[in-house]
Symmetry: C2
Subunit: 490 residues, 2 copies
């Protein structure tokens, strides 16, 4: 069983790579650093998208679409933004290919663009260039827009879902009349992301703000949600930025107030990406494969018939049909795998690998006894259930599994948040135990960078909930007003 | 009223451009040839996507995602494909920008790609490069995959939705064990597109196949659906291609048959794009603005209160609330526009412009009488309806409007399909009446090209339903076995 996955304790990174490919989630393409998202992986992403999209619309946002290619000059308009992004971009320089004298396909040098176009690494610039036309008066505000899109950021070392040169994401871009409204929006979206992470991905997250050096290029404040993976490394799962008036000034977007004055508008942007797939995988999965929370599982229940010969299969199929129908009526997704090309044992391992929350096995003896065998993917436990009680048992179990996964991840995280009061303690925790470390920091870039250099740990966030507590920086000994959250991170 | 749109009879093309912008559907961006799809336009596209996606899934397809950037060499592998596409592509040559000595942002010449990457104009090549890894045995077939994506084709003359350098679309790519299965798939998808066009867009289409010269680059057969716009020009609304074994051979994709032989697989691809937005607009809209079929309208019913002072508005709001709730329970999308920033007359014109199928006006006298005024966008007629009958009246009217729009478009098309038996007749029809012309053609590329040169009319398709009928080519006089469908086209 287990389809020969490397064990997590042996080589966590290898386990992850194998799992992503073997569970049919994604694979590397022939294009350097870019992945193919396979149908099963994409089905999970579609479920994430549907929930997020609903949440965005419920909070008043509308979807729109902006160009993929952005003129180079747009990036220069916001100084800190260009430093953060322009360095790692795909640059379009020509718009035509031709056959050379040998019939080989070459770039047509006559078709050189006057100004290079950048494949969007993020869309603030093209969107604010558009908002300049859309915003004239306070009546046009707030402008609450989201875009589902692909983006490209050139990466040297890539890993499926976690760091790829192209990824899929959503980017919200909003414009407001006042500073406080914009901050409220950025904070709201951080809460929406945390809600999604916890209630759909069953992944607990810590909400906080980024330090100066970890902040988004062009933002005044970056709100983040930070998750903890099973190997003790942190993963930034979503960010929401308060952009102040930086982009409004860069693109000259002013509005007439009710009093007739002209003022620059206030902005936010926020995004989550296919990186969440990586987070989902690493939060719950085990040495047998993927473990999916029921709310995001493309298949929630799989039924595997145990039979010899067509007659037995027919009897089972007849028995199973009304069960399938009752489950579907309750909105539960069921697959009846009656393929004769594979044996039950192979199928069991396959659905364990793919993280299907519940597996039903039903054979001739079950038909006689009016029972079925029900297996839980998260606990790998089995029970015998009466067929007539099956639907209500499944209905309850799906809720229980969803809760149990969150609970388990919460417990794991609780065990892996450690306070450190000296730098030695800090290093010792990072090396042996991993996880989040709460420690005092003097607030300077210099100390932050030194700690990063020496330990590879970064400040994941200044937690919203951490109480203020006087102390001294673990590195410099200088005074500190509160602990911040350190970790090695993806 | 009418927000000062140019009239269709005055300048159809200008009318279209104004309508797209004024009804908040799309606008040109700062990037040459690329559009911004505005929230209202995107909401219509989302409705189209949702229906199409459901239809694709019902016919057994799954979604996946493939890389945006494709190595240049992939295009060379299928000879006719590269001729059709490689000439009009955005080419990525570098992966980094840098600041020059003056602080200006320039391309970093050190970061030149060894092999150029092409922004996908369509994905056959990258997908077949992937299918090579996915297909080994007959058990892996059929492979039925769809992708929702953006594509870039460099265009010199662009028009919003109809011809843009970047557009959104879906592209299905399937692989089959036999030729006949692949042909069946390609034909099925043509029917799915025709079904969507007629039953959701209320746009009748003619199904047929393309001639050699109009066929997709790399296909053996292209199935098309052709619609007729109000100005008498045709619009290709969707195509489905039988690709034979061309891509399987180019990318060496073979499968082991049940008998253990190795054979090349058979392929199809099929797509519709945001071009459908243009088709939708031009099929139904009038001089007052957009006309939307209820099934694709983001707002199906708008309620405009007619009031003086807050007290009257409150009375109306109270009365309207249960109506809104009953409509929503029936799945009808309602907007209550109680903004005090605009007068009722302005709102009426606004929702006419935006094509909302039904408009309710309700004032103090209606409150007294227990009535409302109900206006139909498609016919611009009004009626007084009793409030207690309103929900059932609206329910029926939405169905009626949907049907009536299709009927009207059918009637228009019927009047604009003309048979021509001589070339003079042919030219006369094209010049004065427009629309589709059914005429005999000798089957040669040469004649087709000559006719195109002289009249700008192309063969839209060889209709599936046209009876065989002996005759002689209107241009060459040579024998012909059936009439084909000519038109000037978008």
């Amino acid at each position: 069983m287990g389809k020969n996955l490397t064990k997590r304790t042996e080589d966590y990174s290898k386990w992850y790579n194998e799992l992503v490919v073997k569970a049919d989630l994604a694979e590397n393409s022939g294009v350097r650093g870019m992945m193919v998202i396979k149908p099963y992986g994409f089905a999970i992403w579609e479920k994430m998208q549907a929930e997020l999209d609903r949440m965005f619309k419920e909070t008043g946002h509308e979807n729109a679409y902006f160009p993929l290619l952005i003129p180079k000059s747009y990036f220069s308009k916001e100084a800190s933004h260009v430093d953060g992004f322009a360095k790692e971009c795909a640059v379009v320089t020509h718009y035509r290919l031709k056959n050379d004298e040998n019939g080989k396909i070459v770039v047509d040098e006559k078709a050189k663009l006057e100004e290079e176009l950048i494949v969007r690494p993020t869309s603030e610039t093209i969107i604010w260039d558009t908002y300049k036309r859309w915003i004239q008066s306070y009546r046009d505000l707030p402008l609450l827009i989201n875009q589902w899109a692909n983006v490209v950021r050139w990466e040297m070392r890539t890993r499926l879902f976690l760091r790829t040169s192209e990824f899929l994401w959503q980017e919200g871009h909003t414009a407001h009349a006042t500073k406080s409204e914009a901050i409220t929006e950025a904070e709201q979206m951080q809460r929406v992301y945390a809600d999604f992470a916890e209630n759909f991905m069953a992944m607990p997250v810590i909400k906080g703000t980024k330090t100066d050096s970890e902040r988004f290029a062009g933002a005044l404040e970056t709100y983040t949600i930070e998750a903890l993976m099973q190997d003790g490394k942190a993963l930034q799962a979503g960010t929401s930025h308060f952009l102040g008036q930086n982009f409004a000034k860069a693109f000259d977007v002013k509005f007439a107030t009710k009093e007739g004055k002209k003022e620059y508008v206030w902005a936010t942007s926020w995004g989550v990406s296919t990186r969440l797939m990586g987070a989902l995988i690493m939060t719950h999965s085990d040495d047998f494969g993927l473990v999916l929370p029921p709310k995001l599982a493309p298949i929630q229940v799989v039924i595997v018939p145990i039979y010899k010969g067509e007659e037995q299969l027919n009897t089972i199929s007849e028995k199973v049909q009304p069960i399938i129908e009752s489950l579907r009526k309750k909105g539960i997704t069921v697959k009846f795998d009656n393929r004769d090309t594979h044996k039950p044992g192979w199928k069991f391992a396959e659905y364990e690998l793919k993280g299907v929350p519940l597996r039903i096995a039903i054979g001739p003896r079950d038909i006689e006894n009016g029972t079925i065998e029900l297996a839980r993917r998260d606990t790998l436990t089995k029970e015998i259930v009466k067929q007539k009680e099956l639907v209500s048992v499944i209905d309850k179990l799906l809720v229980e599994i969803q809760e149990s996964l969150l609970h388990k991840a919460m417990e794991f995280r609780k065990k892996h948040i450690t306070k450190a009061d000296t730098f030695d303690e800090f290093k010792e925790i990072l090396e042996n135990k991993g996880g989040f470390v709460l420690a005092h920091w003097d607030g300077s870039d210099e100390t932050e960078n030194k700690i990063k250099e020496l330990t590879k740990a970064t400040i994941r966030c200044i937690p919203l909930k951490e109480d203020s507590e006087e102390g001294s920086c673990i590195f410099s000994g200088k005074p500190s007003k509160r602990r911040v959250l350190f970790a090695k991170a993806y």
